[in-house]
């Protein structure tokens, strides 16, 4: 299931503004890769280029190559809708569909890819909710609105919704920044389990979180506001946090930034 991502020479623009410049990196399958860096350095932008969500923003434009195993996501004839089924995404603020029940939220992605039998759908929903460690909390209220759950539960519901379509890669943009510490812990545990099945990329502002959950860490930085963000280095998480090869990384991690 899990696939390798290989990015080379990637630039992303908002209109004429170059937001990230010349990014090249490899994201290993069945592992967690964390993106860290100051606000505005283009972590979200880069993440969104990995499932072609960047071009949803008006003016959003990308050049460069993103290989998912051996297919270029930006190659000719590639359907962005199909890409997004392979590369799922979890957002910063939990965003369950407010008109749908817990069940329908999880089923939402699948209902589109053709007709499912009720029993099949039940299985997928149960499996996904279990996969998101949410099943025990919601199994008695599957038909209640999804927006009635707590923030942490909503975020796990969004994760269940994303893994229900069986993507190869799961992108998470600061998935815990709107959550309390206990919900954060629940999601971090979950990430540890999910990496057995998916390639996971997570953006985080929390250094400890990056150290706890990720196998590899990428540090992004920008020279100044209005300049494009760049990848400074990517390495094993342990190395990044103990002995990074670039001074700027060490400064950022130890808080001696700017």
């Amino acid at each position: 299931m899990a696939k390798r991502i290989d990015v080379s020479g990637l630039n992303a623009y908002y209109g004429s503004f170059l937001a990230i410049e010349d990014i090249s990196m490899t994201v290993e399958p069945r592992s967690v890769t964390a993106f860290i860096g100051p606000s505005g350095c283009g972590k979200s932008t880069f993440l969104r280029t990995l499932n072609r969500m960047h071009e949803v923003t008006p003016g959003g434009r990308v050049d460069g190559k993103v290989m998912l195993d051996d297919e270029n996501l930006y190659g000719p004839g590639i359907d962005p809708v199909a890409v997004r089924r392979e590369v799922g995404m979890v957002f910063q603020r939990p965003n369950p569909f407010p008109t749908m029940s817990v069940y329908d939220n999880v089923a939402a992605g699948l209902r589109l890819n053709g007709r499912y039998k009720k029993s099949e759908m039940d299985d997928v929903v149960e499996k996904s909710l279990k996969g998101a460690n949410l099943w025990n909390e919601v199994k008695d209220r599957l038909n209640k609105p999804g927006s009635g759950l707590s923030g942490g539960q909503q975020q796990r519901l969004c994760i269940a919704r994303a893994i229900a379509v069986e993507p190869n890669v799961l992108l998470m943009d600061e998935p815990c920044s709107a959550l309390d510490p206990i919900s954060t812990l629940a999601i971090e545990d979950l990430i540890g389990e999910l990496k057995e099945r998916f390639t996971i990329v997570i953006v985080t502002h929390n250094m400890q979180q990056a150290a706890r959950v990720s196998d590899r860490t990428a540090f992004f930085n920008l020279a100044a506001v209005g300049q494009p963000g760049k990848l400074i280095e990517i390495d094993e998480t342990e190395r990044i946090f103990s002995n990074p090869s670039v001074q700027a990384t060490e400064d950022y991690i130890s808080g001696r930034f700017g």
């Binding site: 957002f91 939402a108 589109l112 609105p145 009635g148």
Partner: protein, 355 residues
């Protein structure tokens, strides 16, 4: 604030100032009304509204003066703002209340089951009897057809503008919708008249009226639907797109269900707005005293035309006069029911947050 007597009255806490009791506003209001009545009586003003205006001015001025003396300038200004809001509210409510009161009082005389289920037939204007069945039928059919034409066009236009529209075409569409919003109903009627009846040589029919009503309805539907679609958070669209849902399905399955309550309300209000239109109906549908259930052929009755003709032919009294008011009451009731239904749907369809 070096006034000694004021400083003496000031309580020890600097957070607590002198406050007038709760009944103060009511007392001033009562005083103002009495004075207003007194003044207008003494001056021999016989209008039923002049005393109220005098009382309103007295109330605002009086509460400012007294409050400024006792509580201080800031509180006095606060009171003035509050009383101005109340006065404005009352001035707005008076015409509405009196309109409803008059209509109900005069309308209930002949409004009964017989009236609602019979047409005028060959009842003459001076005779009692007859009813508005043919007019209700006509209005329902004309408004219904107009809705069937206007809602798909209006909603799809709004979806285009909000979800797809970029650049010149969207700007042009927005511009034309703005222009359409300002079209007077008689002009919409004349447009269809020249196109449908004069050029295409069709006769009067309910359908011709419906087309003009649809022209009036479309911009209202576009505007309100646009506003509702803009209220749908972008995060929901992105959540759906990121699941690999195509854009058109995202719109149908996520965006529209989230905003359907507001869209329906807007449509209901648009219907309410056109249900009382008289000018296009006069030009295109004409009128009849008989039941014509076919909206595609021959003149049809309608409530606005019925009210107009009964009133004109009544000379201000008698059976036709009563029928005009009863029909007006029916029309108001119809529109109010539509409004209530719209509210009900909005509440029922609002995104749920219940646990």
């Amino acid at each position: 604030m070096s006034n000694a007597s004021l400083t003496d009255q000031r309580p020890p806490s600097s957070l607590r100032g002198a406050t007038l009791p709760k009944w103060f506003a009511w007392a001033v209001a009562a005083g103002a009304v009495l004075l207003g009545l007194g003044i207008s009586f003494a001056a021999g003003l016989d209008s039923s509204i002049q005393w109220a205006l005098i009382a309103a001015v007295l109330f605002v001025a009086g509460s400012y003066g007294i409050s400024a003396k006792v509580e201080g300038r800031r509180q006095a200004k606060d009171r003035t703002a509050t009383s101005l809001v109340w006065v404005a509210f009352l001035l707005a409510i008076i015409p509405l209340a009196s309109l409803i009161w008059t209509t109900v009082k005069r309308g209930v005389k002949v409004l009964d089951g017989y009236f609602l289920t019979h047409s005028m037939g060959y009842v003459r204007d001076t005779e009692p009897g007859g009813g508005i069945y043919h007019a209700i039928l006509g209005t329902l059919e004309q408004v219904g057809i107009a809705t069937v034409i206007a809602v798909p066009i209006g909603v799809l236009t709004a979806i285009y503008l909000v979800e797809y529209g970029r650049g010149k075409l969207a700007k042009a569409v927005t511009f034309f919708v703005d222009v359409m919003t300002g079209i007077p109903s008689i002009v919409a009627g004349l447009f269809i008249l020249s196109l449908w009846i004069l050029i295409l040589d069709m006769g009067y029919s309910g359908f011709a009226g419906s087309m003009a009503l649809a022209i009036l309805m479309i911009p209202v539907v576009v505007r309100s639907t646009e506003e509702m679609l803009k209220l749908v958070p972008n995060e929901l669209r992105e959540a759906s797109l990121a699941l690999g849902v195509p854009k058109w399905r995202t719109i149908i399955k996520v965006v529209l269900p989230t905003s359907i309550g507001g869209i329906t309300t807007g449509i209901m209000l648009a219907i309410a707005r056109i249900a009382g239109e008289t000018a296009p109906v006069l030009l295109l549908v004409w009128v009849t005293n008989l039941i014509n259930a076919n909206p595609f052929k021959d003149p049809q009755a309608s409530l606005p035309m019925y009210i107009y003709l009964q009133f004109i032919n009544s000379g201000g009294q008698g059976a036709a006069y009563d029928r005009a008011w009863a029909a007006a009451l029916t029309l108001i009731a119809f529109i109010m029911i539509l409004n209530l239904v719209a509210r009900g749907i909005a509440r029922w369809k609002a995104p749920k947050t219940g646990r």
